[in-house]
Symmetry: C2
Subunit: 206 residues, 2 copies
């Protein structure tokens, strides 16, 4: 899916807009929104500033498009883990999957969405707000999935789906930060495994 319809008249664009966007995502992923300068972006994307502005609007819109690209990846953590039938497998899949994906060295470490939110002063308020909404949406998806599991009788009676969703979000954010700080895949997997074991023990009927 291209971002801007290819023009059939005029000078043709000299770069692949999808590849450029992916490069931009990588920079935002690594440095966050405010931590990324236009010079870093243009250098990584292999284009000059006016080309960037013509193709993507401005830094803010470029960021949103990059985040869209990130969230629509087919190998998204949620997409994979939610395919499991049993809630225990979902929880294990989410935590161990996060540990694996956040340390996957084929792209920057951690979660792009979580990393981006960080380096944001009061200046870029719309960025903060939008990223927060996305994260809230994901938390809601988790809560919905856990609620569904509870209806099926998979969860303990005293386990609140919303709280469990918050706890998972907390763990994701912590795992993402640790990954960004250079934690190894082994360390994060041990952490994820211990967390999963604890959650399964106190929240899931067996």
């Amino acid at each position: 899916m291209t971002i801007t319809k290819a023009a059939c008249v005029g000078r043709p664009r000299g770069f692949d807009i999808d590849i450029a966007l992916e490069q931009a995502l990588n920079v935002f992923w690594r440095n966050g929104y405010e931590g990324t300068s236009l010079n870093e972006l243009t250098e990584a994307m292999g284009i000059k500033k006016p080309s960037l502005y013509a193709a993507f609007g401005n830094k803010e819109q470029l960021f949103f498009k990059a985040i869209d690209l990130y969230e629509n990846r087919p190998d998204s953590l949620f997409n994979i883990a939610f395919q499991h039938e049993h809630i225990a497998d979902v929880i294990r899949g989410l935590l161990l999957g996060a540990a694996a994906q956040f340390t996957d060295c084929s792209h920057p470490q951690g979660c792009a969405l979580i990393n981006s939110t960080l380096s944001c002063s009061e200046a870029s308020d719309s960025i903060k707000k939008t990223v927060l909404e996305r994260k809230l949406k994901h938390k809601q998806q988790l809560a919905d999935r856990f609620e569904q599991a509870k209806c099926k009788g998979e969860l303990q009676d005293d386990c609140e789906p919303v709280v469990l969703a918050s706890l998972m979000t907390t763990l994701f954010q912590g795992l993402s930060m640790q990954a960004s700080e250079g934690a190894s895949v082994e360390e994060l997997q041990q952490v994820a495994a211990m967390a999963a074991e604890g959650i399964l023990t106190v929240c899931v009927k067996r």
Copy 2:
């Protein structure tokens, strides 16, 4: 403990250096290192830039001094929680204490150390490195305390103190982020309670 020895000659300083430092800490706490500008600092501290530079060196040194102030607070989370004898109380104290302190509205939300690390591009590398060392030191303190508990037979045999310390760190970082994003004290306490219950169940002998 003052930062700079009070001069007994020359024009006396027109502001309280300790109060100014505390104001600086609050700004860094709220906005992170790179997210904080000198104008914000001087405004919050009630002084002009040359006074700031005369008293604290530069932005980087001011940050280090502010972080020192933060870590040497008497009501530090670790100081309080480590006073408990039983490891179960330590773990509960750490998690519930974090939920409470991170949402305490008498100061910025979240953990200052964790928040600061975030908004740091490759530029301020020494900041990143120093903050990382501090966080690592805290993780080590946790690991030592858990190791000690294991020696006393308080932990399950298959519970690795280092992994448990990593999991606690992960939870702290997640809780701090959620607090910074505006989570309520109630929500965080529920999350902390659930996490504590899980950890106590799988890691601690009862």
